[in-house]
């Protein structure tokens, strides 16, 4: 399937845990309606605890649908979705999410936006009133780590797109979730801001090591950030290829310009264009 690479190989990581944290077994999803199209079919996915996985694929292949299925926002039509050892039967209650659209609430300051999950997720919700000072300090600290110190009392419209996306990452992480779902969080940013935020995300990941599923169009982004890059097929989507990146962290951005790295990106690219050409037999 893949040509052996000296830098990154296809074999499973040595420290793979016994039971994956996220487990999708032959999952199918049909859009609602009498003849709704199949968005996902025969999708198998295993993500270990603390693993960083990136999902790439042709546009419209069901990557965002996969996010909804994993978080329980949409029930799978067939197959099993297991997260943290429990079968998912409704929306999960602890997942941090960030999207290309940073959706900050315009009437809240950056600090208040970041603290929104604390008003919802237990046990923080109960403790927030009494321990507001401590939580506020935590939020300020988190904002400082992404370079937003001093912007706490500014409103979303006073921040640039990149800054809003930093705040969005903070909001996804403030309650220290063990699962982080990112749907093209850097999709709308310019190349420089994007690369800067890759570093920010890597630092955030290293600080608490949540399980991360990142959906992206950017293959360099996928390979640079993830332990494993999964390629999805055309609709109905399933995983058709995977690629490990065993490089130790923190990774250096310069590496993404190395010959080996570029070759693997080209290889992933090849798999996606193959997936694009594949005419789905039924939908």
């Amino acid at each position: 399937m893949a040509t052996p690479a000296p830098l990154m190989a296809m074999d499973a990581p040595a420290n793979a845990p016994a039971r994956p944290f996220v487990e999708l077994d032959r999952v199918a999803l049909r859009y609602p309606g009498s003849h709704g199209a199949l968005a996902l079919r025969d999708l198998n996915l295993r993500v270990g605890k603390g693993e960083f996985v990136a999902i790439v694929g042709p546009s419209g292949c069901g990557k965002s649908t996969l996010m909804k299925v994993v978080t329980g926002l949409w029930p799978a039509s067939e197959g099993a979705v297991i997260v943290g050892g429990h079968e998912v039967s409704g929306p999960l209650k602890f997942v941090g999410m960030a999207f290309q659209n940073s959706v900050q609430l315009p009437w809240r300051t950056t600090l208040a936006n970041v603290m929104l999950p604390l008003e919802i997720v237990e046990p923080h919700r109960r403790k927030l009133r009494r321990e507001r000072k401590a939580y506020e300090a935590r939020a300020r600290e988190l904002l400082a780590t992404v370079g937003l110190a001093g912007s706490e009392s500014r409103y979303p419209w006073q921040l640039s797109g990149g800054m809003q996306q930093r705040a969005s990452l903070c909001r996804a992480l403030i309650h220290q979730p063990n699962l982080l779902m990112l749907d093209e969080p850097f999709g709308a940013l310019d190349a420089f801001t994007k690369e800067e935020l890759w570093g920010v995300l890597q630092d955030l990941y290293l600080a608490t090591r949540p399980t991360v599923i990142l959906v992206t169009h950017d293959l360099r982004e996928a390979l640079y950030l993830a332990d494993r890059v999964l390629v999805m097929s055309n609709r109905p989507g399933r995983i058709v290829h995977e690629r490990h990146n065993p490089d130790p962290r923190p990774r250096d951005l310069d590496e993404t310009f190395s010959a080996d790295f570029t070759r693997i990106v080209a290889e992933l690219r090849h798999h996606i264009s193959q997936a694009r050409r594949e005419v789905s037999t039924d939908a």
Partner: protein, 255 residues
């Protein structure tokens, strides 16, 4: 400063044009009195005008207040549930399509001549725009925001309180500006059809006695009350949803 004076200038110019037109076309007073006569009538009849305007303001504000409460509640309920929205909306449109003039006689049969029919008419005519606007604001929360909140375990109630209602506030205040002006339409219609007091009643009596300048005085006083209430609504809007008009504030502050 000059910019703020322009609306005043427009009003003055309008009255001047009116005065000139009446003189130029030699309009009889009982068809179109000149504004000078209208102002004279306001002064001459100031005691009954104040008395009747007070009644109209009272019924309008009470009806409008009821419309705010009902409109907010119903708007939030309709906006937060697609099923309820689809179920109730046709009935609402039906109610709103009924001419309110036609309802007044029924209200008079039920409640007798007095303040109640005017209050109810003002309420009926002004709550619809509030319901429509508030429900739109609550119902159009960004899907990404819904995903973020639901994946955190937010209940429907959490989503409405934290996002739906705050985000509906600019819609709500925009609707208040429409609602307050139509509330006057409602109360004055009721007073015109059947009443013993109020600006509408005053104008009906004046018309029957061919006191045309007094009829116009009634219209003028109503317009002034409408503008005043509109300004009150704008004042509260500025204070409570400044975040929605930040672009304009920036321009005014010269940023």
């Amino acid at each position: 400063m000059l910019e703020k004076m322009i609306p005043v200038g427009v009003v003055v110019a309008m009255f001047l044009l009116w005065e000139l037109a009446v003189v130029a076309f030699a309009m009889p007073e009982f068809i179109l009195p000149p504004p000078s006569k209208v102002f004279a009538a306001v002064w001459e009849w100031r005691v009954p005008i104040l008395d009747n305007a007070g009644r109209t303001l009272y019924t309008t504000v009470v009806g409008f207040g009821l419309a705010i409460i009902t409109g907010l509640l119903l708007g939030v309920i309709l906006g937060s549930s697609g099923a309820i929205y689809r179920a109730v909306y046709p009935v609402l449109i039906g109610f709103n399509s009924v001419p309110k003039v036609a309802v007044v006689p029924i209200l008079v049969i039920w409640f007798g001549i007095g303040t109640v029919p005017a209050i109810i008419t003002a309420f009926l005519i002004s709550f619809f725009p509030i319901v429509v606007n508030v429900s739109t604001g609550v119902a159009t929360v960004e899907p990404e925001m819904l995903d973020v909140l639901r994946a955190l375990g937010a209940s429907k109630r959490d989503i409405i309180l934290k996002v739906g209602i705050p985000r509906a506030m600019p819609y709500f205040f925009a609707s208040l500006k429409i609602a307050i002006t139509v509330a006057f339409v409602g109360s004055i219609i009721a007073e015109t059809v059947a009443s013993n007091k109020g600006i509408g009643h005053l104008m009906t009596v004046a018309a029957s006695r061919f006191e045309v300048p007094l009829v116009f005085a009634g219209l003028l006083v109503t317009a002034v009350m409408g503008v005043a209430m509109y300004m009150v609504a704008t004042f509260f809007e500025r204070g409570m949803t400044g975040w929605a008009t930040r672009g304009m504030d920036g321009v005014q502050a010269g940023l």
